[in-house]
Subunit: 271 residues, 2 copies
């Protein structure tokens, strides 16, 4: 999917919501555990109930890998279901990969070819040759970790490197990578005040923003400091939407939570 197609979807749906699929068998409605593939059944129900309210889904790969072969199978079924039924929706493999060149190429094949995601999240620690193999894929997007939403972000990301925070060095250095137009960035909503400085470095890039909701980030602040003329934001909510209820009404409850966010986004877009 091209960036323009994503922007068109945002304008059409009046939403820049991404729904995170972090499926924990201890948290989903217990009646689903009787089905053959509870993870996929949960995802399918969530997707069926929310697809008109969001522009992206973000399966969190850890939550599939933790269930081994069955988890990987559920991941395949989830991405295939999305690509078949909702090809207009942007898909994000939240995998936080990154390795030496030939290994990154294999990860890129895993997520862009075998699973056919539109994008994948990548950790920057290993530098240029760990990121460029992902950028080499046309019409695919590499979402580089810049400033994450967790407390550990202050361990290294905000430390000064040559007088500038490491996450800003990551932003600036990554602009020099081959095919850097395929880059998006992770910037946590819990650090909204950093967004205006980030926008000075990457004025137009899309940002994937976790941390609204369960982690305490504020949508209004993120938009105030981070929005571009083409929106340029994908706001992720995972637990706040998908675990709105753990009863039989879970999918409708998720849709209600998603709609609250979508309406708030619509108001911002129309203001």
């Amino acid at each position: 999917m091209t960036t323009q197609q994503l922007i068109d979807q945002i304008k059409k749906k009046k939403s820049f919501l991404c729904v995170g699929l972090d499926v924990d068998l201890n948290k989903i409605p217990q009646h689903l555990l009787q089905t053959e593939d509870p993870i996929f059944e949960f995802n399918k129900a969530i997707i069926d109930a929310t697809h008109h309210l969001c522009v992206a889904y973000k399966p969190n790969i850890a939550f599939f890998e933790a269930y081994g072969l069955k988890g990987w199978q559920a991941l395949e079924k989830t991405i295939n279901y999305l690509n078949k039924n909702h090809p207009e929706i942007f898909t994000i493999a939240d995998a936080k990969r990154g390795d030496i060149g030939n290994t990154s190429t294999m990860y890129a094949k895993a997520f862009f070819e075998d699973l056919a995601f539109d994008s994948v999240t990548i950790a920057p620690y290993m530098g240029k040759d760990s990121v460029e193999p992902f950028l080499a894929f046309k019409e695919k997007h590499t979402i580089l970790l810049a400033l994450t939403s967790n407390l550990g972000a202050f361990d290294f990301q905000t430390k000064l490197v040559d007088g500038k925070e490491l996450y800003k060095q990551v932003l600036e250095t990554s602009k020099t990578y081959a095919n850097s137009e395929n880059l998006m960035y992770v910037v946590g909503a819990t650090k909204a005040e950093y967004l205006s400085e980030i926008r000075q470095i990457i004025p137009n890039s899309f940002l994937l923003v976790p941390g609204v909701g369960a982690q305490g980030g504020n949508l209004q602040d993120v938009c105030k400091y981070g929005m571009t003329k083409d929106v340029g934001l994908l706001i992720n909510s995972s637990r706040g939407i998908i675990y709105a209820s753990n009863q039989e009404d879970f999918a409708q409850a998720a849709a209600q939570k998603a709609e609250v966010l979508q309406k708030e986004m619509q108001a911002i877009l129309e203001s």
Copy 2:
């Protein structure tokens, strides 16, 4: 496996060799492609031929994920084969994971519980709460990226943070994490001269050292600067061993290459 058990194996086998399993279907002997599970058949033959010469195996998870469900199945079979037939061998999931706390917990479950590896490689960019969920597992080991063997290592890892290289900040900060005694570190052999300074920060920790062989690192230099009284090194070789031949003799050819390294290690240990 405890660190002491690993040290005992090193002394018994007179080897601190780790064999990397980076199985690329384009590089393995073509006759294996006729079998039902070429990736596992390749690994099994390599393990059968080399297990007496090494103390660790390191499946590179990207090379399994790239083949989707079949790849994951081959990974399961490989680790199960190792744990059943060679429980004395240290196993490393080279996965380079790392995410916010609850997600890292799921990755830890995937590699320590579902797949029952002894250790997993982790990227430090997201800091403390992305690493500690792995450290919480008893008798498991978290191998944190410090200074990697690729060119991109110079993008960020060697940059000065408060007057000290980022990779040294990673080493020092990680020592304050809960259960830090379960930490090992990745330090590339291509940067052997850095090892004496690294040993001032972490005098006793085990180092996983990639880059000997295909990437140009030198075993003598690594040992000179990095070895401790308990050895403290696992030297990885992947392509240099497993792709020694792409004919029917591939496993024997791999064993010959492994034996050259093991003999070199034995000479160092006995000198």
